[in-house]
Subunit: 426 residues, 2 copies
């Protein structure tokens, strides 16, 4: 962690009235934490000049760096630029270079904007560093007060803020105030946080100076190994040893998330995938196709919400549905086989369950979910009882199904069927 | 709006490190705005006693009411209760009634917790009002300082905070500091914000004292009509007149969102629905089934990501795919007919498009989307060019498709087919 004191000032009525969820804070907080910094405080205020000026002055009294988000656009409620300049005692001047950048950006997109709206966004406080905006008009601005403290102004739209922060703000921060810790992050899927912690902490004594931190999400634990800056080699060795210990539970470094890791495993084998979903009703397919380029391995799927679809489209037998019910190991196994046959693919995943809030019984309560994966003729079935709301049960089902699928694919050696046909284990 | 000054203090390292998105602020902001109040400021701080105490004292200097969120649980980093009591100069005492409530809650769930963890959560500052927790253990606390200002402590888990806020905090706030405005909210779908504003503002002069506010989201504008408290009848008349003017563009009052409005329209007609999705890959089906009870009208669907699925499962003709391509009016019309036939339902919706970032051409750029809806044999097709990222294009496609479907169902009079078979208008 670095000792530099960073405060974030979010500007906008829409955050306080609940019209917009503050995803920018989460992005900044996570990006800074991954780089070894900490946000010490966040303040969210309306977009009035009085509120902004008072907050900038108050936060600068404690912080080394205040990052403001929002209020850099061309409209009358975008007042961050002049108010921050005034608070820092800096005058504003029109920057011809910035003006040309904005004009070029708008003309590439055939957008016509009144010239005063462009000029507003090209005003730069004296001495400020201009942070280029690749994906919008208003540039970011890194201003330094005579105390040496900095105010960094960033635009509010996430698609403008994110690349600007990663490309311009973070590298400069690293030069000016290098973190006193370095990091390696490993994403672990399908293993409870306490188990990850026990296995990691048994290994770490061999790597002096390396310490762990954990962040648990549904079906994923982000493990952050940190060490002093001069321990890079020890940190890398520790990360390799943890990766060896946890094996396939760790996502590959080039897969940012579970759907991407599934895609990578499929692409490496040139296999295609199909889905058959009841309770998640398309959620697994939607997650897989969040990844750009998923069309190279994802064929499609069937949302089998009603029994008629299970019967008539997926070919689940009426006897199975009658004897075991729609939410059963037998039905999910027939669903996964049915969709693999229908779409003529190597791999498939199927789910059926009771997401609630209604529809539960003592034998089959809300939260009961069966997940089946198929690699060629080899089918695996697992039974779960997920807690929580309808939303939570559906989300957990999606993530656990994706991880079961990933592990089934990774665990399949060679090119032939790796199990006897019909080896479902309900 | 009420003049009462409300500040929100969010407590937790996980918000500042980006591990948790601050959905509580959005919920409180929206709920308070809907009731005629405004959050003037939000602060997010780490869960250390020093940071919490300093923030409570600082915010109380300006605010009438400080709402704290988080830090009421049983673990060592849950320190909000004693720190706020100290900041207000109040002593803590064990509340036997609260203790029994917590014990009863845990025993109903067969959960065993060490008794000191229960007692921690049953400590109540002197004079505080206890806000019952229906969905968890730690109660909320409404404390009043000797200045008359209040600190309201709420638990961090959204499933505990939300009912407690709506059932205990808001009614008390209404009694203590009634808003000086009353509201009616209308959700308008499929009409641009500027058009809604023009049509609403042409009507409002007939309703003195009633003024509008707008909040735009993809494919939805929330229109908030407000008036002084003594203008209830005029406000109701204005809302009725706006509803008449905008007709089917306004969602019914008992449908909280677009998928629920689709469900209501289907349930009223006892019709079943099917989906055929290419670029959204299950997103429409997942949105429809976010609504509890969707199984009474949603049969299921086909995720036709590859052309093979469009051909072999949905029965799109090879000639159509070859001549017009997968992203075309002709293909989407055959998809919607195909899935309606396959699943034997009255209504269906189908989409095909290019979500990007790759796969665009000059003739068919990224963002090109075709949406088809079918009510019995009557098919409607619309073409769109959506801007923005892959994520945005997919989200817009889901919402516009749901609204097109809703309007098609609402616009269908009588019980017979309302259009000639094959009346697609690509």
């Amino acid at each position: 962690m670095s000792g530099v004191q960073i405060h974030v000032l979010c500007i906008g009525d829409e955050l306080l009235s609940g019209n917009t969820l503050n995803t920018n804070l989460a992005f900044l907080g996570r990006s800074l934490a991954d780089a070894g910094y900490r946000v010490r405080r966040e303040i969210c205020i309306p977009d009035t000049p009085e509120a902004i000026e008072a907050a900038v002055v108050a936060e600068l009294a404690e912080a080394d760096i205040v990052i403001t988000i929002g209020g850099l656009g061309p409209t009358s409620d975008d007042v961050t630029r002049p108010v921050v300049a005034r608070a820092l005692g800096l005058s504003l001047r029109l920057d011809r270079g910035v003006l040309r950048e904005i004009q070029a950006y708008l003309s590439r997109r055939n957008v016509r904007v009144p010239s005063h709206a462009i000029e507003t966004q090209a005003m730069v406080p004296e001495g400020a560093l201009v942070l280029p905006n690749r994906t919008g008009t208003a540039p970011g601005l890194w201003c330094v007060a005579d105390t040496g403290k900095a105010v960094v102004m960033l635009p509010g739209p996430p698609r403008e803020l994110r690349p600007m922060f990663l490309e311009s703000v973070l590298p400069r921060l690293r030069r000016l105030a290098p973190p006193d810790r370095i990091f390696r992050i490993l994403k672990v899927c399908g293993v409870p946080e306490s188990t990850v912690a026990a296995r990691v902490e048994a290994l770490l004594p061999a790597f002096p100076g390396v310490s762990p931190a954990y962040c648990a999400k549904p079906a994923e634990v982000a493990l952050r190994l940190c060490a002093p800056p001069d321990r890079g080699a020890v940190l890398a060795a520790a990360a390799d040893r943890v990766r060896e210990e946890l094996a396939d539970a760790v996502l590959p470094e080039d897969a940012p998330n579970l759907p991407a890791a599934v895609g990578k495993a499929l692409r490496e084998r040139a296999w295609a995938l199909a889905t058959a979903e009841s309770c998640t009703a398309g959620g697994i397919a939607a997650a897989i196709t969040d990844v750009p380029g998923a069309s190279s391995y994802f064929a499609g799927g069937v949302v089998a919400y009603s029994n008629a679809v299970k019967l008539n489209v997926l070919g689940v037998s009426g006897a199975t549905l009658h004897q075991f019910g729609a939410v059963s190991a037998e039905t999910v196994a027939e669903m996964v086989r049915g969709v693999r046959r229908l779409l003529e693919v190597e791999t498939a995943v199927a789910v059926t369950g009771i997401a609630g809030p209604d529809g539960g019984t003592p034998e089959k309560p809300v939260g009961l979910v069966y997940i089946a994966t198929a690699v060629r003729d080899h089918v695996r079935v697992r039974r779960f009882l997920f807690p929580g709301s309808r939303e939570n049960i559906r989300l957990r089902t999606v993530t656990v199904a994706l991880n079961d699928l990933r592990l089934h694919i990774l665990g399949t050696v060679g090119d032939g069927p790796s199990g006897a046909p019909g080896s479902a284990r309900p």
